[in-house]
């Protein structure tokens, strides 16, 4: 911005910093307030997930997938069990599929609430963050009555689920959805259409579609750049093709397509779509049926490999599993959507101010547990 270029200052944002969403270190070169170079350093949360998997049986891996993207654990379970089931050619019952979709979509709402809340906090709005956490708690309560856990569920098992739905679950979900839908409008009025928030996020950190594709950015971040890519539609898995829902894409209402505001807006819209999916799934949810029905006695996928990707709240969550026919996999590779999103950070945030870098980082919605694995 300035013509006079003085000496650059190297600034370490993190690993302990209020806005790095975990333990991320950004080495930032600054010229005054303007950031000229960003180098993200990761690995502070590395716990050998992939190596660990090679020494565990298939069912023992499921709790470890919880701990990758700990904000969207249900979706991690989902992606993993879908991959293993496809390897073993297991067909699960309609009931199990419905419950899985309900759980995954509720989890998506919870994850987006956290993403938007922390994004708001990164630009200085503290109250919406607490409102969103309050409502996220209600979803966690629903999970708690189902499987006993509030964060790391270990709920979806290969061929079934750990528990059937508890009595009164459906009514409680309906009650929550009826409560939650008007709340969305309140959040949007409070934060999304706030003049200061628009000033801070519109036209800031624009992620052009070409750059997004080149960096392998997926999920809401890619959709905010205007590319309609949602695995629930494009590569439908489970029973997603039997539900009708829209895939919101960024339109650049407040600025350019792919700016921080669009990334916020896409997530806000996706929550509405998820509510719709949950409502449809609740309507067609079969009452009878055993959720343990299709569970195999021994999980030994035949020799071979599979790459299966599903739409987690952060994007394409891919599991690449190689089996040699033994009880534990030879290799498990997790393709992390948050990792690719973080990769694009330096491409879009350089040249902006420190405050903007924090806002852009917040808008990308990264989870370090998944990046470091």
């Amino acid at each position: 911005m300035g013509i006079v270029h003085g000496e650059e200052m190297v600034l370490n944002i993190g690993p302990q910093h209020p806005s790095t969403h975990g333990v991320l270190r950004l080495k930032v070169h600054t010229d005054g307030e303007v950031v000229s170079k960003i180098i993200p350093y990761i690995g502070y949360l590395h716990r050998c997930f992939e190596k660990h998997c090679e020494n565990l049986s298939y069912e023992q891996i499921i709790p470890f997938t919880d701990r990758c993207d700990y904000i969207g654990s249900m979706n991690n379970n989902f992606g993993y069990v879908v991959a293993v089931e496809e390897m073993m050619d297991i067909q699960v019952s309609e009931k199990v599929e419905h419950i899985r979709v309900i759980m995954a979509e509720l989890n998506r709402i919870a994850s987006h609430l956290l993403a938007l809340g922390t994004f708001g906090m990164d630009v200085g709005a503290f109250t919406p963050f607490l409102y969103m956490f309050r409502d996220r708690e209600r979803i966690l309560d629903l999970f708690e009555i189902t499987c006993g856990a509030r964060l790391l569920y270990n709920y979806m098992w290969v061929g079934g689920l750990s528990h059937d739905l508890p009595v009164g679950f459906v009514e409680k979900v309906y009650k929550f959805l009826d409560y939650f839908e008007p709340q969305l409008k309140e959040y949007n009025d409070l934060l999304m259409y706030n003049k200061i928030f628009i000033e801070r996020t519109a036209d800031v950190g624009v992620l052009p579609p070409e750059v997004a594709v080149n960096y392998g950015v997926t999920g809401p971040n890619l959709r905010a750049s205007g590319i309609k890519w949602d695995l629930r539609k494009n590569e439908s898995y489970s029973i997603y093709d039997s539900f009708s829902f829209e895939v919101p894409v960024g339109k650049g209402q407040m600025g350019t397509i792919g700016d921080c505001w669009d990334r916020y807006w896409v997530r806000a819209e996706e929550m509405k779509e998820s509510i719709g999916i949950v409502r449809q799934a609740l309507k067609t949810l079969p009452v009878e049926g055993d959720v343990h029905e299709a569970m195999p006695k021994k999980i030994r996928p035949p020799k071979g490999s599979i790459y299966k990707r599903t739409e987690s709240p952060r994007g394409d969550l891919g599991f690449y599993i190689i089996s040699d026919g033994s009880p534990s996999p030879t290799r498990v590779k997790l393709r992390s959507p948050a990792f690719t999103a973080l990769g694009a950070l330096s491409a879009i945030a350089e040249g902006w101010m420190i405050s903007d870098v924090i806002a852009i980082l917040g808008s990308l919605d990264i989870v370090l547990g998944e990046i470091d694995r």
């Binding site: 200052m9 600034l11 910093h17 209020p18 806005s19 307030e33 708001g120 906090m121 990164d122 630009v123 200085g124 709005a125 503290f126 109250t127 607490l130 409102y131 309050r134 409070l190 934060l191 706030n194 200061i196 928030f197 000033e199 801070r200 101010m353 420190i354 405050s355 903007d356 924090i358």
Partner: protein, 361 residues
Amino acid sequence: MVVDQLIEWLGSLLSWGPGSPLIFLTAVLIAGIPIFLLMAINALVSVYAELKISAFMQDRVGPMGQGPGLHAGKWGVLQTLADALKLLSKEDIIPEFADRKLFIIAPFVIFIAPFIALAALPFNQNLLISDLNIGVFYILAVGSIGVIGIILAGWSSNNKWSLFGAMRSAAQIVSYEIPVGLSIVSVIMLTGTLSMQGIISYQEGTILGILPNWIIFNNPFSFIAFFIFFISGVAEVNRTPFDIPEAESELVAGFHTEYSGMRWSFFFLSEYANMLIVSGVAAVGFLGGWHSPISGFLESPGWGLFWFFFKIGALIFVMMWFRWTFPRLRVDQLMNICWKVLIPIALLNIFGVGIWTLLKG
């Protein structure tokens, strides 16, 4: 006023004569005690109010533990006292590579600004330390001492976040002093005096028999001037949406990142005292000071004290309301608002007030 009386009284008591510098010094020191108490009580009450107001705005209950009650306290009314005691008992940490002298001085410099500014704030008809004939000017002038302390704190901490906070703060406070000053100019043009009591006594009576004769209602330009003053005042005291010098999510804690314990509490104390002063000047300059909202109703000195603090409290509440509603501006947007919006409007306002008074006669 209080100082003058003290000097007279001490002079007759100690028989050194009222002109003695020693008497003057003693009187000033004695007058300083209530100011300090006021700042401390203000911080205790405001922090408690902030905790509770933010809690209610955010669907929480806020502090409930400390204080009198049946068991384990009720409403947490003594929460801030407990916090203060905790701060007093904390370890005093000075970073190894900090500039020790400046690091120690900085909180006191920041503290001095609101401390001496309070001397010119009239609390009711009789209660003020000194009715300076340049009262408003004095408050605005000494109020800017604080920025020196902020730069000292940011620089001496030897921390990059602190430095960023200090640089932002310097730019912000120096810029926003201009719209503050310009909006006060329109008040001075109407009243023709810089004395705080003079400004307040100008606002006696009513307009058209309904509205109180406050400067905010005097003419459309002074109405706008109030908002310019208040917005700039919020920026002067580093409150959200203008809290970029201590932006938590960006700069950790800005210029006071390295401060802890009692030294940190001085920053806190002066932040709330600054809020009191900005609200106080707004109340004096635009909202009739200690005058009752209904002319002639409850106008005694005791009620004057009540009305003054009522107005201050209302303005401080609005500041807290801002803080728990708005996101934070970016540093360049902050400057844009100041230089491209507030200052041009304030300048036009001065022009408008001039024409208004000329036409009105």
